[in-house]
C-alpha cells in the first residue's frame, strides 16, 4: 500500500492551511483517515491508547446490520414474486431485491455524507463517522417503493435538522434515522402507510395477481382483522411485507447478538425494552376488552418495527439515556409506550418509532434524576461528616 501512501503524501500539502485546496481539507482528511489510521501520537495525558476508535465501532454496527439487510433484499424479491404469482429462484429474488434496495442506500449515503462533509468543512472539524450507520439505517426502515427523492429529502432533514444544527454526531437529541422516518411519516403519509407501498411494484399494479394484499401484519392488527395476521413463525422469520430491514426478527436477533457480544449495543436497553413491551402486553391481556388487547404478547415482539427499534434504534448511545441506571428506565418506557401506542391509538399502527423519539426527548430528564441522586448522596455524606466532627 506504499504507492497509495506516496500519492496521499504528495497531494497532502495542497489541502493544508496554505494550500490551494484548503477548502476541501475536511474531505481530504476524511478520505486519508479512511484509508490509513493517522500517524498522530499522544501529546498530553496518556501515552498509550486503546486500539478502538469510532470508525471501528461504526463498522461493527454495520456488520450487525448485514443480516437484516441481506434478508431484507431477499424478502423484497420474495414478496414481489408472491404478488405477481411468479415463482422465482433464491438468487433471482435476492438480485431483484438488491436492485431495488441499492438505489435507496446510495441516495441515503450520498445525500447524508455530502451534508456531513460540507458541515465538517464549515466548522473546521473532522468528518464524523456517525452517518455511516445512520445512512444504512434509513433505507432499512423505509418501504421499498418509497420514491428516491423522498428518501433524499428525509435524509437531508434528518442530518441537518436532526444532527448538524445541534453540533453534529454526539450532540443530537433525536435519533437521526428515526427522524428521517418520522419526516416521511408526517410529510408524505401516503408513501409510508397503507397497503400499496410495502411490496415492490404493487403501487403500479403491474402483473399483480387478483386478491393479493400488500398490507403489513401490523396494519391488519390495527384494522382489527386478526384472522389475516400470518403465523408466528412467518412473523419471526420475516416472510411478510414491511419496511426493508424490519421484517425478520431472526436476522435482527443475529445483529443483536453481535452488538451485545462486542458490548457496542447496550443489552440493558434491549432487555428493558422487551420487558416493558411484555409487561404492557400482559397487562393488556389481563384487562382485555377488545381483540387487539387480547393479542398474545409474543406477537407484539415480532410485529412491525419493535425488534428492529429495540436493537438498533433504542440503543443509540447519543440519543438514549447515558447512565447505566437510566438505560433500564429508558428502555422499559420505550417498550411500554410502543405497545400502548399500537393498541390504543389506531391512527398510528406503528408505535415503536414514536415511542423511541418520545423517549429520546426524555432521556436527558431520566439522566438528570439519576445524576441528581448521585449529587444527593454526596451532599448527604458531607452533612454526616460535618455532624461527626461536632
Amino acid at each position: 500500500m506504499k504507492f497509495l501512501r506516496d500519492i496521499l503524501d504528495k497531494v497532502k500539502p495542497a489541502f493544508e492551511k496554505d494550500g490551494k485546496l484548503k477548502m476541501f481539507h475536511a474531505t481530504f482528511e476524511a478520505f486519508e483517515s479512511f484509508l490509513f489510521v493517522p500517524n498522530s501520537t499522544t501529546k498530553k495525558g496518556v501515552h498509550v491508547r486503546d486500539a478502538n476508535d469510532l470508525k471501528h465501532v461504526m463498522t461493527v454496527v454495520i456488520v450487525a446490520l448485514l443480516p437484516t439487510l441481506l434478508f431484507g433484499m431477499w424478502n423484497v424479491g420474495y414478496q414481489h414474486a408472491l404478488a405477481t404469482g411468479g415463482a422465482a429462484a433464491f438468487g433471482e429474488m435476492l438480485w431483484f431485491g438488491f436492485l431495488k434496495v441499492l438505489p435507496l442506500i446510495v441516495v441515503s449515503y450520498v445525500v447524508g455524507l455530502g451534508i456531513e462533509f460540507i458541515a465538517a468543512q464549515l466548522r473546521g472539524h473532522e468528518v464524523n463517522e456517525g452517518f455511516l450507520v445512520t445512512g444504512m439505517l434509513i433505507p432499512l426502515i423505509m418501504p421499498v417503493d418509497c420514491p428516491l427523492w423522498i428518501v433524499g429529502l428525509a435524509t437531508a432533514f434528518a442530518v441537518i435538522i436532526g444532527k448538524e444544527v445541534f453540533g453534529g454526531t454526539g450532540m443530537n437529541i433525536f435519533n437521526p434515522a428515526l427522524l428521517a422516518r418520522a419526516f416521511v411519516f408526517f410529510a408524505y403519509p401516503s408513501q409510508i402507510s397503507g397497503t400499496k407501498v410495502w411490496v415492490s411494484g404493487l403501487g403500479s399494479g403491474e402483473g399483480v395477481i387478483d386478491g393479493f394484499s400488500g398490507a403489513t401484519p401490523l396494519a391488519y392488527a390495527g384494522a382489527g382483522e386478526f384472522s389475516q395476521i400470518p403465523s408466528f413463525s412467518d412473523l419471526f422469520f420475516g416472510f411478510i411485507p414491511g419496511s426493508i430491514g424490519e421484517t425478520s426478527t431472526l436476522a435482527i436477533l443475529l445483529g443483536a447478538a453481535i452488538l451485545i457480544y462486542t458490548g457496542i449495543g447496550s443489552w440493558k436497553v434491549m432487555l428493558a425494552c422487551t420487558a416493558g413491551a411484555v409487561g404492557t402486553g400482559l397487562l393488556c391481556n389481563a384487562v382485555a376488552v377488545n381483540a387487539y388487547m387480547e393479542l398474545p404478547v409474543y406477537y407484539h415482539l415480532v410485529l412491525g418495527g419493535f425488534a428492529f427499534g429495540a436493537v438498533f434504534m433504542a440503543t443509540d448511545p447519543v440519543s438514549g439515556a447515558q447512565t447505566e441506571a437510566g438505560k433500564w428506565i429508558y428502555g422499559f418506557l420505550i417498550g411500554v409506550l410502543a405497545i400502548v401506542i399500537r393498541v390504543f391509538n389506531p391512527g398510528y399502527p406503528e408505535g415503536m418509532m414514536l415511542a423511541i423519539l418520545f423517549m429520546n426527548a426524555f432521556a436527558p430528564l431520566i439522566d438528570y434524576y439519576i445524576v441528581g441522586a448521585n449529587i444527593k448522596r454526596r451532599l448527604k455524606r458531607a452533612k454526616l461528616s460535618k455532624e461527626e466532627k461536632k
Binding site: V37, T41, V46, V48, N52, L54, G167, T323
Partner: protein, 452 residues
Amino acid sequence: MPNIISIRKGLNISLKGSAEKVLSKIPISSDYAVKPGDFYGLMPKLTVNEGDQVLAGAPLFVDKNNPGIRFVSPVSGTVSRILRGDKRKLLSVTVTPSGEQRHVQHAVADIKALSRDDVVQRMLESGAWPFLKQRPYGILANPADNPKAVFISGFDSAPLGPDIDFALTGEGEAFQAGIDALRKLSDTIHLSLNNQVSANSIFRKIKGVKTHTFVGPHPAGNVGIQIHHLSPINKGEIVWAIEPQHVVSLGRLFLKGVYDVSKVVALVGSEVKKPRYFRIISGASIAPLQSYIDTSSNPRYISGNVLTGANIGAGGHLDFYSTMISVIPEGDYYEFLGWANPLRMKKYSVSRSYLSWIFPDKEYALDTNVNGGQRAFVMTGEYEKVLPMDIYPVHLLKAILSEDVDRMEQLGIYEVIEEDLALCEFVCTSKIDVQHILRRGINLMIKEMGDA
C-alpha cells in the same frame, strides 16, 4: 485484622517489560534538575543564580505564595543552568554535581519529643515539605492546614508499576521514622496495601498506621481511589497524600539530619533490554540509563507510568514524584485500513470487537499511536467500567467543558485528579483528552474558590 476492600471496576493493561526484582547500580548522573512543573499550585521564586555553589539540601527556589516552602537541590555542586520558557516561566534549575556529596546538616532529633510545629518547621527548612500533596486538587500541601488524615498507597497498580515492597527493602527504620513524623501532622495515617505483600515486608512491622487491604485491578493502587473508599473528601475537607519512598526520605531527615531523596526506580517498558530497578537520586538525568535501552526504535522516555507520566526525552530528568521510567516505542506510522481490521494482534483493546480478550495473559508492546481521531462523546458506559468511584465521569467532564463550577463541585471534582481518570482516557473511543480537561477544571476551581 485489616479490612479488605475489593475493587471490581478498573483495568490492568498488560505491557511488555516489567522489572525483574534486581537492584542495579549506575554511575552518578552528570546533572540533576528540579522542575517547578512537577508541583501543581507552585509559583516559583528563584533564590540562586547560575554558577552558584550549592550543597545537597540547599534551596534553589521557593513558593512565592508561601515562601516558607523550599525546593532544594538533591545534590551538591554548581547551579549550571536555569531554564526558562515562554513569558520567562521557570522550567527547571539544573545542578551539576562535583566531588564528594556534601549535605546541609540539620539537627538529628527524637521525633517523639518534637511538637507539631517543630516537625512542620523542620520539613519546610529542609525542603521535605513538597513530599506532601494535598487532596483535593493534587497540589502542594499548605503548612497552615490541618488535614483530616494522611494517606499512603503501599502498592502501585499502574501498568508496569514498581513493586514498592521490594523498593523499600531494608528501609524499615527510616519508614517508621517517617510515619512517626507524619503522626505529628495528623492523628490518622492510612496505609493501603494489596494482598501480595510478602510476609517479611517492612509494611508488616509498621506501627501507628491504619492498614487497609485493597484487592482488584488498577486504579486500586491510586491513593485517590483509596481515599474515596476509606474516607471520601467532602467540600471543605482536606487530606494529604505522600509516596512511600518519600516517607523514607522524611524518616532519613529526622534520623540522619540530611535531605536524601535517593530512591529505587524501576526502568520498564518494551524498549528496555533488561528491565530492572536502579537506585537513583530524584531529579537525575536519565542519560546514564541509555545502555540499558534499545534505542533503535527511537523510543519515548516517560518519567512515570504510561498513563500519567511525562515525556522527558532521552536526556530528560526524573520527575520529583516518579518512581519509574517507562520506555515505549513511538507510534508515528500510518496503518492501512487499520480501523477495519479486527485482528491487529499487536494492538490492545478492552472492546470485544477486537481479539485481545482471548489472550488475557498476553503482554503487549503498545506504542504511542492515538489509533484514531478525536470525536465528541458518543459511546456511553466506557468510562464507568474503569473508574471504581461513585462518580459520573462524563457528566463531570461536561460540567468542566461548560465551566460550571457549581456542578463540578456537585459531581465530585474534589475527589479526583488526573491519575484517577487516566484509564477513562485510555479506553475512550472518541480519543478525548480526559486528563487535560480535568486539570483545566481543577485550575478553574482553585481560581474560583480562592483559598476557601
